[in-house]
């Protein structure tokens, strides 16, 4: 947190000394993005608060915790491949889940499949590249995401 404040303040100051106008454009752009995601973020925070209340922490740890093994990874890979959540929402969500007992490995699989595999957008992707190509890219990405997630989990 302190690190983030220091980095942001120094970057803004340096930018301001170099070019005032550019800095204002950047500030406006950044804060505009924040305002734009605010409703979606609040909705997710409400949803997570309710879901975490309904699911006991012991269960969350059993299914998605450090010792959840293939179960945790499978759940993460499926949810990640199917859902279409922007990174701006996915990372805060991941941080909350981490604090609730979900392991780094499970989160890494979720994040990588979320980023690289898109089942919902597959029809659109097929329109650009053809169905076979889109399927192959998603299939390879799914495998790759699993490997990445498992490796991150091992090294964290």
């Amino acid at each position: 947190m302190n690190f983030l404040i220091i980095v942001t303040v120094s970057v803004v100051l340096i930018s301001f000394f170099l070019d005032r106008e550019k800095t204002f454009t950047g500030l406006k752009k950044g804060l505009g993005m924040f305002v734009n995601i605010l409703p979606e973020l609040l909705n997710i925070l409400i949803l997570v608060s309710v879901v975490l209340y309904l699911i006991p922490q012991s269960m969350l740890i059993r299914w998605l915790g450090r010792d959840s093994g293939m179960t945790g990874i499978s759940i993460a890979a499926l949810t990640g491949s199917i859902s279409l959540i922007p990174g701006f929402i996915a990372y805060p969500l991941a941080a909350i889940l981490l604090k609730s007992g979900v392991s780094y490995g499970v989160l890494a699989v979720f994040i990588t499949t979320l980023m690289m595999v898109g089942i919902v957008t597959l029809p659109l992707e097929a329109k650009y590249y053809g169905l076979k190509t889109a399927l192959l890219r998603n299939g390879l990405s799914f495998l790759g995401a699993l490997i990445i997630g498992i490796l991150v989990g091992v090294f964290m």
Binding site: G30, L31, P39, Y129, V152
Partner: protein, 177 residues
């Protein structure tokens, strides 16, 4: 204000309004099961409103200083390792969801970008965008982000090589639907 009002009518705020109502009602009628939900919500909320504006400011500043034109000039030039490097740089300066990258690859394809580099771009776009890395480091830590990026890089390069090998002899083209 007008924008916010129009968003309420669009339903984006409907859960938020409902949640607020539930909080008020539960206070009035002493419904105890709501308070742990409210407590975790405020805890998450407090963290997000302190973290997020800072991150978005950082992203905004990075965005205005990113040398996009300079990178774009190098696209298509230089094959092999250098070509891959420029492609990754180009992808890192972008923002938005993966399906937003499809139309961009159509333009790159028209400009004569190779099959391999098209998929390098998609790989880097989905996993290494600067705004995303900022969020990743902020929320899951530098170690997580470094490890994830380190393992992702060879994976999407291998995927691109496989895609190139597979599509090489086929009549691959990118269409604009």
């Amino acid at each position: 204000m007008k924008k916010i009002l129009s968003k309420i009518s669009l339903g984006e705020y409907i859960f938020i309004v409902l949640f607020g109502l539930v909080l008020v009602i539960s206070r009035a009628f002493h419904l105890s099961f709501v308070s742990p939900i409210a407590r975790s919500f405020w805890m998450f909320f407090a963290e997000m409103v302190t973290f997020l504006p800072l991150m978005f400011i950082l992203i905004g500043i990075i965005d205005v200083w990113a040398p996009k034109e300079k990178v774009e000039r190098h696209i298509g030039k230089g094959s092999g390792f250098k070509g891959i490097l420029w492609m990754i740089m180009l992808a890192m300066f972008q923002a938005g969801p993966l399906y937003g990258a499809f139309p961009v690859t159509y333009l790159l394809w028209k400009k004569g970008c190779s099959i391999r580099n098209i998929f390098i771009y998609l790989g880097a776009f989905s996993t290494m965008k600067l705004p995303m890395l900022t969020f990743e480091i902020g929320f899951l830590g530098l170690k997580f982000s470094l490890l994830r990026t380190l393992f992702t890089l060879p994976v999407f390069i291998v995927i691109s090589l496989i895609m190139e090998k597979y599509l090489h002899k086929k009549h691959f083209e990118i269409k604009q639907p």
